[in-house]
């Protein structure tokens, strides 16, 4: 099926915040907001929830650390115990640094990997067509038509009132 979308571009931070508030108040459904930089408060205005990537980070971290700790003690105390400088085979204090590094490495890489996967960012992905300047200095609010009562003109007017510099109406051919 196909979707009708209205893209409204803003420049000022104040304007976009106000507009988003107004649109949500007007019961319009905002499909997505495209921002050139992270504008604080905008996510709250758009009513987004906090991401759960933190859990990935923690889990990976502990797994990595645990893995390294086990691997070190296994190689030095079980697989082939060797007398190095008269130290005990399981000389755990010596294993702390590598354990820590292992944890940090796993956590960091896993988090970023999860982030890219979750946000479907990957090399060669085509960016969605947007009005010019979306990654330069313009906030673009995309309002999607929920039903037949969708009045693009009225909506555009509303946005322009709130200081949109430009509005575009577009029909998106979604794959069936």
């Amino acid at each position: 099926m196909s979707r009708r979308l209205l893209y409204a571009s803003f420049v000022g931070e104040a304007e976009v915040l106000a507009a988003v508030a107004a649109l949500r108040a007007g019961g319009h459904s905002i499909d997505e907001i495209y921002a050139p930089y992270a504008l604080h408060g905008l996510d709250r205005a758009a009513g987004l929830r906090r991401s759960r990537l933190g859990w990935v980070c923690a889990a990976a971290g502990f797994l990595g650390a645990g893995g390294m700790a086990w691997f070190q003690s296994w190689t030095s105390a079980t697989s082939w115990p060797l007398n190095v400088g008269g130290k005990p085979f399981f000389s755990w204090p010596a294993f702390v640094p590598v354990t820590f590094e292992g944890g940090v490495l796993a956590a960091g890489l896993a988090t970023v990997a999860a982030f890219l996967l979750r946000s479907r960012l990957y090399p060669g992905r085509a960016p969605s067509p947007l009005p010019a300047g979306a990654t330069d200095d313009r906030f673009v609010v995309a309002v999607v038509a929920r039903d037949a009562t969708f009045d693009a003109q009225a909506l555009a007017r509303l946005c322009l009132e709130h200081g949109a510099v430009e509005t575009v109406e577009r029909v998106e051919r979604g794959e069936p």
Binding site: L82, N83, V84, G85, G86, K87, P88, S91
Partner: protein, 988 residues
Amino acid sequence: MSKPPADSAPHPDHAPRRGFDVDRRTFLKTAGFAMLAAGCARPPVEKAIPLLVQPEELVPGTNLWYASACAGCAARCGTLVKCRDGRPIKLEGNPAHPLSRGGLCAVGQASLLGLYDSRRLAAPVLRGKPVAWPEVDVAVGAGLHAARRMRLLTDTLASPTEERAVRRFLAAHPGARHVVYDPLSCSALLDAHQQLFGLRVLPRMRIERATAVVAFDADFLGTWISPVEATAGYAQARDLSGTPPRLLWHAQIESRLSPTGARADRRWTVLPGEIPLALAHLAARLLPAAGMSLELSGLEPSPLPAAALDELAARLAAARGSSLVLCGSNSLAAQTLVAAINQALGNYGRTLDLEQPSLQRQGDDRALAQLIEELERGAVDALLVRGVNPVYDLQQGTSLRAALAQVPLVVSFAERVDETAAAAHAVCPEPHTLETWRDAEPVAGLVTVMQPALRPLGSTRAFCESLAAWSGAPRSAYEQVRDTWREDVLPRVPGASDFEGFWTAALDRGFVEARPTPPAPRPFDVSQVQVARSAERPAPGQLALVAYPKISQLDGRHAHNPWLQELPDPVSKATWDNYAALAPSTAAELGLQTGDVVRVAAAGTPPVELPVLVQPGQHPRTVAVALGYGRAGTDRFADVGPRWWFGKRTVAVGGTVGANAAPWLRLEADGLRYDRVAVEIEKTGRSRPLATTQRYDSLDVPAGLAPPGGVHRPIAQETVLAAYRGNPRAGAPEGEAESGAPADLWPAAAPGAHRWGMAIDLNACTGCSACAISCQAENNVPVVGRDEVQREREMHWLRLDRYYAEGPGGEVDVAHQPMLCQHCGHAPCETVCPVLATMHSSEGLNQQVYNRCVGTRYCANNCPYKVRRFNWFDYPHEDPTANLALNPDVTVRSRGVMEKCSLCVQRIQAGKIAATTRGTPLRDGEIKTACEQSCPARAIVFGDLADPQSRIAAQARDPRAYRALEELGVQPSIFYLRRVRNRDQETT
């Protein structure tokens, strides 16, 4: 890494390779760089070539031992030659031999390398062209036939067979005379006994029987007559752990600091020209008491302080019959006085043996002087030179070369074209001692057989063979030795009848005890004693010069031996050079410091330029220069060591290692003198840094960097007899706990089958460095060259640290400490290696795995003893002949890996395997490390600390035992036994 393949191939140079031709090392490198690529490549094809017909006694890969004797010097110590797959790879002292008693000095150890010297003559040379033997025989034969006045000039033979060959040769050539001289002459000592006892022999020193020794300029532990024998006796006479404990008192009066002087309990310095006078004063104090009437009035004032003379006299008198006065000076006056003193003290027959005298020096300098005069007069028709190098080692060298040109026939037996052979018409090279049959009688009644260990590498011919050939009765050395033993030796051996049995036994044992030949001495004739009433002293502004032999070079006959060239002098620690040693005060006066080049000029000789070495403990008005340097052909070492962009050559092409000091010798009426009364020293303004292996000489940290009062590091600990009597642990640093196990954070590692350890008795060690060379030979330690030593990269696994300290009467005290890997129980080096290339064995060894090492050098940094050695370059092993000396049991290390003392783990392995195969447990002392085995003083004991009965365990319990830097808690396995100086009170 590569090592001579010890597979069944009898000939150890690398077998031909098929396929793509890379050696394993390059292969592994590429493999490392591109593992997968190399994954489908095969290492090179190696051939294994067995013998066609295998003799019964020869099992490839096992050692064969031959009893022989060392020809490194005239002392002729008994040796055992270790052969592997047909090639000698190690020389060791023969434990049964009365002279060496198992020890062997550095020179003896290193003489092995001379065998594999690719520059030795491989064929006789006639007028500069290599020819076949028959040609030489024709030419020489003709020359000898024409000659009426023929002279045979040799060093001391001390060999029944060779003496016999010489006798026959002289008989066959009327008008021929045999002249003997020793480059390191004892002529005066011999003459003195000729005059006083009617015997021209050296009394054999029995130091082991002495309780007090006073040596005047006699380096008897280092280079004088028979050092290994003397060292063994000396150690025996100072053995505090023996029963009863003994501590010989030793005083040294000398002008330079000799290794022997470094061991003395009391030491005074005098000018070389003052020694006879000093002896006269000592005689004046001792002879009357013995009722010997000798006119000793009108002496110049004594060079020694009266107190010193009193102390000497008192000590000697107290030790009547067990004392010993020695003198290395070649002045007849000095030697007769010494003999008189020893006679007065009743030492003859006790500490000085005339019944079985030493034959190790027989040179007659008067005869030499006469020969030279004849030569200069052109009154010699033929000259045969053997074992000596007059053009090099005599003052008259240059003029002699001219004189030789006048002689119709000059024949040399040198193994290479040396200075004299260069002036000879024919050079008839002798084989190396390990290549031929010889024998020796170093001490009357001790006849030693010297058997070959392999066939001559070149077409050489023994001295006695050449003589026989030219006397018209050609006979092989083997036959000649057997003849001599059958006809001359056998009759002298009581109870021996069947020759073959006797011969086999002799070969097996290496020597026989026979009846001594020399007649009994006649009673002492005091009237023959000469008294020196005055001294020779340099004029103000001049210095007296002393030319002395170095432990590593002696008279220069081993100048072509890289091991010896790179062996640090026990006292100065310098390598690859001789130098003008000056006392610190003198150097300061002249504004000189170590490395400054000076011009040394003496009357009648061209000035010589030498670098200065500031030498504490030397007489301020002397300059000391080592003999044996400046040998022709030593520019062969121009390319020793690595060549790289900023690397310097060891010696300039066409140059020589060091400069020859022989021109300063003087041939006086009573003998060859090794000193010049007056020389002048002149600055050149240039400087040439010496390659020394130790840059800081004291255990006290520099005054500027220490808290007030200074800091002394208790690393080479020592005490004095008085203190030791009171408290056997005297000398330990204050507050050190009575030897208890140090606190330990970790549970002790599970004990293994053994716990290897070593104890080194600093009281016995004389610093002679035999251990260092033995280690080098055993463990394939490379020679790195002068530049690398100067960059402080010498590779010796075992070094002798030498420290100076302020001794009594402002004299210098010297401490020696052999330093090697301490095999710490809690080794700092092991913890830091990232790849486990060094870690601990279950038997307490600190293992270094060369093939695992990646070369981070972290272990060396973290070693408190700095005993680890890094392969900065691929140190050369490119001479295929020299490589035959490599020990196949020890890996040759490649560039970029760390190495260090392994406590001769290859010997430990061999011992354990021998025990397993024979099925009985190891015996204590069955395994000997190379250093322990070669030590003439028996200062080193290796063994199993886990066995409470072992010698090592006993030594570790000795109250003198301590471990260096024990306070670090690294738990070393090497114990040191404190040195005890025979003194009454501690000196500051």
